[in-house]
Structure formats: C-alpha cells, structure tokens
C-alpha cells in the first residue's frame, strides 16, 4: 500500500536506518505510524474544553453497522471446510468417501448461489413454476426507469418471504461488461427503514444477452422482514456494500403485483 503520509515518508527515507539499501523496513514503518497515532491522540485531548465526547451521527453508525454485518455474513457464507489428507499407510477408500461427502455437502450449501444458466431451460422453467406455485411467493413486474440500460427492459421478480428466496427474470436489460459495471439487486425493508438502515444487498449479476430471457436467483445477504420495494442499480464491478443509487434501472413495487 502506498504511503501518502509525507512526514512518515520523509523520516523513513532520511533516518539512519540499519538497512542501507534504501528500502523501507515495514516493521519500522509500522512503529512510526503507531507513534504518530499516539501523538495524534494526545494532541486531540490536549486542549480539552470539556469531557464531552462528540459521537458520530446515529444514521452514519447504522450505515457502518450494516456494512460490517454484511461483510461478516458474506465471509461466513464463503467459508470452505478444509479436507485433511490422511497418511499413505491408511486405505484411500475411506478418505475418498469422506472427500466426496464433503464436496456433496458443500455443493448443497452453495447451490442457491449458482446461476441457473447451466441448467436446461425446461429445468429452469419447472423450478420457477414450482417456486411460483408456493402460496408465499409473490410476483412483481419490473418497471423500467429512464436509465439508458433499461429502455427496453421488462420482466418480474419472484419473492418468497418464508424461504427468503427469490428469482429475477429479465429481458431487454442492456448487456454489461462485468469489468466495467455490474447490476445489483437491493431489497428495501420497512423494518430496517425504521432503524435508519439501508436496503439489503440481493446480489450482483450480469446480463450477457438482452434478447433472450435471463433468470437470476436472489441472494439476500441479510434477513428481509417487510420487503416493499426491489430495485436494480448499476454499480462498480463486484458491487458495493451501500449503494449511492446514482443509476437505478429497474423497480418492482407492490402496485404492480401480479397473480403468480
């Protein structure tokens, strides 16, 4: 990571360090950073006018908390169970069975996150038909905004509150280059709004063909209690933790409720 602290750079470059090659010793750099941090803290408290601490605004604390919880939630869902190798003296068969079992378990755990494009269209349709037939599944039509990526876009979002799962169907949404930007789903939740929270991240996806239908499973990063709006935005590659909502392309609201 580049150092932009001029003070630190200057001291490190001109100090009588034992390393004569001129390269920066990372341990020494870190110690100097720590020293300056301590000094900074003492300077802050030096001219104390009162003992009162100025807290960060509640709304900002909520934003930061949401981001942190989402990061840990993602980290937990990405955990891989390590498979330990046994010694050669043992039979390989029990080991192979154990490996196969772990892989199968991992596949089952990760299955909802797999984009359905690897299945045949008939299988996808059957999956959606079964999903839609659930009494707890609602279907909402996408409403395109005036964003140029959404001019010809249409489709629907299917959401099952009980299972916290869903699917999005798109046609006509502009093809994206994933290294330039990606689409990201947001689920607006009334219970989070009440706590000044932010919408729940529903996952990042790409559109490779706008002429044929694309089906994307919804991957909500947090629990959704009272969803009232689904929105698709355009974000940087990899998505964001909190969207600035500068490019909203599609919205799905209860007013457009369709019988599923």
């Amino acid at each position: 990571m580049a150092i932009n602290d001029d003070l630190l750079l200057d001291i490190l470059q001109e100090t009588d360090a034992p390393n004569q090659s001129g390269s920066i010793d990372s341990a020494e750099r870190e110690e100097l950073e720590a020293l300056l941090a301590v000094y900074h803290l003492s300077a802050l408290s030096e001219n104390a006018q009162s003992q009162k601490l100025e807290p960060m605004p509640d709304s900002l604390q909520h934003i930061v908390q949401t981001e942190g919880e989402a990061l840990i939630s993602t980290a937990l869902s990405d955990k891989v169970v390590p498979i330990k190798a046994k010694s050669k003296a043992h039979s390989v068969w029990p080991q192979n069975i154990a490996i196969a079992a772990c892989l199968l378990l991992a596949m089952v755990a990760w299955y909802p996150r797999v984009i359905e494009q690897f299945k045949t269209p008939e299988t996808i349709e059957q999956t959606l038909a079964n999903f839609s037939s659930d009494a707890n599944t609602v279907s909402l039509a996408w409403q395109a905004t005036e964003d140029k990526a959404a001019l010809d876009a249409q489709g629907q979002v299917l959401w099952n509150q009980g299972s916290q799962k869903g699917y999005m169907r798109f046609k006509g949404l502009a093809v994206n280059q994933s290294d330039e930007y990606q689409y990201q789903l947001w689920i607006f939740d009334k219970s989070r709004d009440a706590d000044n929270g932010h919408p729940v991240d529903g996952g990042v996806f790409d559109i490779s063909d706008s002429d044929t239908e694309t089906i994307v499973p919804i991957n909500a990063k947090l629990g959704v209690d009272k969803p009232y709006l689904f929105a698709v935005t355009i974000e940087k590659p990899g998505g964001v933790v909190v969207s600035k909502q500068e490019r909203i392309v599609l919205l799905a609201k209860p007013q457009a409720l369709l019988k599923s």
């Binding site: 020293l35 930061v64 981001e67 942190g68 990061l71 840990i72």
Partner: protein, 185 residues
C-alpha cells in the same frame, strides 16, 4: 497482558455482534479525528465508511500483544484520512480548513487511558519545542504536507523537516518511558 478477547479479535472470528460493539466503542474516536482534520458532511461520511471497512478487513491483523486496539484503530483512521486528503483535496482547500488548530470537544475515553497515561504524556510533551509541536500537530492532526506547513508557517522547508524529525525522535524516547506506557503502543 490482558488475555480477554478484544473486539477486533471477535470481528476476526466472524462474530457479528462485535461490529456493533466496535462502533459503540470507537465511533467517537474516529469522528473526533476526522472532524478535527476539517471534514464535514458528505466527505466525512464517505471517509468514515472507508475507515470502518478497512477496520473490518484488517481485524485479523490485530495483535493485542503488539499494540492496543485504540492505537491500531487510530493508525487505520489516520492512514485513510491522509490518503483521502492527498487524493481528494486541493492544497488550497486544506490550507483553508483552519487558521489554527481547533479547540474542539475533547476526545476523552477510557480506552485511551487504558493504552497509556495521557496526563503524563501531556505533562512531558514540553520536551518538544513550540516549533516542533506546531509542525507535528499540523502534520498529524491536519494532514498537511511539509511543504504546506512551510507555506503556512513561513518556515523554510528544511527547518520544517528538521523540527519534525527531532520532534519524532523525542517522542520515540518519551514513549519508551515506563511512566508513559501502561501496555505499550
């Protein structure tokens, strides 16, 4: 050395409840640092989000045997703040922040007192000359570069560099004093 699990260690072990605890414990510290550097409104909020994201991602590098949590978080805050200053702000904007270092609502916090004896540190700060203290504060608190400090104070650049170097060397000696440190940096 305290062997209780720290907030950052809990975050590193994916304990979601530690997120709220971390914010509750350190929101005032981080907010005070960036507000003292002159950040407000949208920029302050952007910066705070960047800082906390780095805290979450760096939690697994925290070792309580090396330094206190307060200092670790302050280091991250300063790094992000200085990066932000260098990249986003023009030189003129930064110099216009303050005519002098502000007397702002104090940062006083139990966790700071746990890290080292603040009062002793303040008392011994007089080993630094007024010039050394001034240039160090302009650099560490406001994030001004040495050339900017030279412009602001009227001191030659070489003199600014000398004051900073001597000031840091004195601080290093001071910080090794057992009267100052309770748990180390």
């Amino acid at each position: 050395m305290n062997t209780a699990t720290t907030i950052l260690q809990r975050i590193a072990s994916d304990d979601q409840s530690a997120i709220k605890a971390c914010i509750k414990q350190y929101n005032g510290l981080i907010w005070s640092i960036i507000r003292n550097a002159g950040f407000y409104n949208g920029e302050a909020e952007d910066l705070v989000q960047n800082i906390f994201i780095e805290i979450w991602k760096s939690a697994d590098r925290f070792d309580p045997n090396i330094r206190s949590e307060t200092v670790f978080i302050t280091m991250i805050t300063r790094r992000r703040m200085i990066d932000f200053l260098r990249k986003k702000m023009t030189e003129q904007n930064r110099l216009e922040f303050r005519e002098e270092l502000p007397s702002v609502p104090a940062y006083t916090n139990d966790s700071l007192a746990d890290a080292f004896d603040v009062q002793s540190l303040r008392d011994n700060m007089q080993i630094l000359s007024d010039d050394e203290q001034q240039v160090l504060k302009l650099s560490t608190v406001l994030g001004l570069s040495q050339s900017e400090i030279a412009d602001k104070t009227g001191l030659p650049l070489g003199t600014v560099k000398s004051h900073m170097r001597r000031g840091v060397q004195k601080l290093q000696k001071l910080m090794q004093s057992p009267q100052i440190l309770k748990e180390g940096l």
